[in-house]
Amino acid sequence: MRQGPAGRASAPLRGVLTDERARGLLFQLAVVLVLAGLVAVIVANTIANLQRAGLASGFGFLTDPAFFDINQRLISYSSTSTFGRALAVGLLNTVLVSAMGIAAATVVGFLAGILRLSPNWLVSRLVGVYVEVTRNVPLLLQIIFWWTVLTALPKVRESLSIGGSVFLNNRGVRLPAPLLEAGFAWVAAALLVGIAAAVAVSIWARRRRDRSGRTFPVGWAGLALVAGLPLLVYWIAGAPVGWDMPERTRFNFRGGLNVTPELVALWFALSLYTGAFIAEIVRAGILSVGKGQIEAALALGLRPGQTMRLIVIPQALRVVIPPLTSQYLNLTKNSSLAIAIGYQDLVSIGGTILNQSGQALEVVGIWMAVYLSLSLLTSLFMNWYNRHIALVER
């Protein structure tokens, strides 16, 4: 550090060669440039040859009409939409099942991880059985298992009905779908305000506790703000939500929201499978917190629940988050097994497009780029969260 700038200032060229750091950089740069050049030559060569063989002709096909249908669409799509839009539908289906899976796996995993350490023999053993069974059976089999179970539900004509508005059969669950009316914007706004207020209250409560030691029921206040405020506005605005009720037709139900057995089977399998791994991570995290910490907390008069929430979990999280991140990434990637039961995710729809358009390399490229992006986004978020909760060392 000290000799570097001085050396460069007096004799630039000799400085670069004699300064160990600058020299290292120079050579590394040279190697990178040569490698990049070679890679560029190979890529250009390969592309040229693939095009000559008619195997890769670019991404123009994405604007061609797809001419096939998709059963689960989060955005509007018909058989005359483009291949690109079909891929977007598939991507959203992947994101949907991944997000649902991550949420459920986290809840299942944390509960199971904590319960496995329960002093209650029966509870800890039952959770142990769950963890060992789901962790050790291939995920693909579990997905097919759940699909088989769900398609063994009553047939459409013998649907189980809950209150005449929810129907359960082997083609999924039919729920009334909410139809948002004009006044609903106020409810949404109230929800946002409620969340912001809840965050503000929790910050205020923490500061007050740090100052005076007095606690405040943050949980109840938060619930009132996040749930109560929108409900109040909903009532004042005159219930601005209509319901699209499922109606029985000759073959199926029409209207409402259909949750297909494919989505549910995939969601169950992914959540339970990944949940078992998360349970072990959480258990390891809790066990990594020194026994003395817990004893000290109890000695100070904290209740067991408080000890868990205020002393054990925050310290355990630091151990838990990094491996948890890779479980989230695994879950997202594992969702591509959807194809086994015909859930139309990115891989399933991409495969159809690949076959209908013949653009194999392009589609495979899109697959890889999308999964890489999803993984990097998840990692970025989790790394941010990890830094946020990391031990602040003084």
């Binding site: 195997l55 073959f251 015909g342 159809t352 194999a360």
Partner: protein, 356 residues
């Protein structure tokens, strides 16, 4: 000066690394360059390897299934065997590669298989855009629907709101979307990867009807325990000429595949059968037969094959009619009539060009 020796050492180290890396990169570049030209002379490649790599279905009764001895048999398989016999002289020299509707084209394009004989519909874009050559039509088919008789449906146009099981990546998927769009009715597609999975989903009641080529429907229905409770609807919603296909760019190989198929069809027309082909090969008073079986002219040599190529092909499993009857015909559990697939003189549209 003290500093210079590490530089040199570092330089040398990097040079050595480059020397190790360069051949690998060069090899990669060469192999990439070779991709474009590896297509010609399939015949030589097949002869050299001594085995024909034939892409077939993952399992479809009548067309490609494992028989009681555990070896592959069926209508599509019989064509592979005939081609192997014509090229290599032995119908057993086939390596079967089971392919789904989705991975069949990449398998053919990449050279994993030499020929695809997997009830594949001949379409414009597959022939032109995907870079394949269809060598003929082995089965004239059309898309239909199968459903339970208990549904009380007479026609596919009554299927408004139904759930339809469909094999993804097939022309049937596209025809289905067209059919419902044109008739302005709704449906829920239930996408399935293979015929056997579709069978499971259909029987479980996940869908009301299953749609694929009518030959496939008949084949699948024949495997149901309660086959009589299911019916194939009268509508045929598409033309599905099924045929074998090869990679584009090797005309000789395409010719061999095409004329092996034509020989099987012509053999039926001229009355050449598995049983009498050896007798006929000694010479007949029909010059067309004599040319085909090699006792006159040199058709085999024109293809780059032996004189007895067609004899071997016919001996492998008989002529077209014999193959049809054995695997699909009324005497089988599938019980398909010849229909369009009868010879032109019998009211069908099977008409192979002359062996001349």
């Amino acid at each position: 000066m003290l500093n210079s020796s590490p530089i040199i050492r570092e330089n040398q180290r990097e040079n050595q690394q480059m020397r190790r890396v360069l051949p690998v990169l060069a090899a990669l570049a060469v192999s990439a360059a070779a991709l474009g030209t590896g297509q010609a002379a399939m015949l030589d490649d097949v002869k050299k390897s001594g085995v024909l790599k034939c892409g077939i279905n993952t399992g479809l009764a009548g067309f490609a299934f494992t028989d009681d001895k555990g070896s592959w048999a069926g209508f599509d398989v019989a064509y592979c065997r005939a081609l192997a016999a014509a090229v290599l002289g032995d119908p057993d020299k086939v390596k079967y590669v089971n392919l789904t509707g989705k991975n069949r084209f990449p398998a053919l394009a990449s050279g994993e298989i030499d020929i695809l004989s997997r009830n594949t519909t001949w379409t414009f874009s597959r022939d032109v855009d995907l870079g394949f050559t269809f060598v003929g039509v082995i089965y004239y088919d059309g898309q239909g629907f199968i459903g339970r008789k208990a549904l009380g449906v007479e026609s596919a146009k009554e299927l408004d709101g139904a759930s339809v099981c469909i094999q993804t990546g097939t022309t049937t998927e596209l025809n289905l979307a067209d059919f419902f769009r044109v008739n302005k009715i709704q449906y829920e597609p239930v996408p399935i990867e293979t015929n056997s999975e579709a069978r499971v989903a259909y029987l479980a009641g996940r869908c009301d009807v299953y749609t694929t080529d009518t030959s496939g429907l008949a084949a699948t229905r024949s495997t149901f325990k309660d086959a009589d409770a299911h019916m194939v609807f009268p509508e045929i919603i598409s033309k599905e000429p099924l045929g074998p296909l090869v990679r584009q760019g090797d005309d000789q190989w395409a010719d061999i595949a095409r004329w092996t198929l034509n020989a099987l069809i012509n053999a039926e027309e001229y009355g050449v059968t598995q049983a009498n082909v050896d007798e006929m090969a000694k010479g007949t008073n029909n010059p067309e037969i004599n040319r085909m079986l090699g006792s006159e002219g040199s058709l085999g040599a024109m293809l780059g094959l032996d004189k007895g190529w067609a004899i071997a092909a016919i001996k492998a499993g008989g002529n077209y009619g014999e193959i049809f009857d054995r695997f699909l015909g009324p005497a089988t559990s599938i019980g398909l009539q010849r229909g369009l697939n009868a010879l032109y003189r019998d009211g069908g549209i099977l008409y192979a060009p002359p062996m001349r």
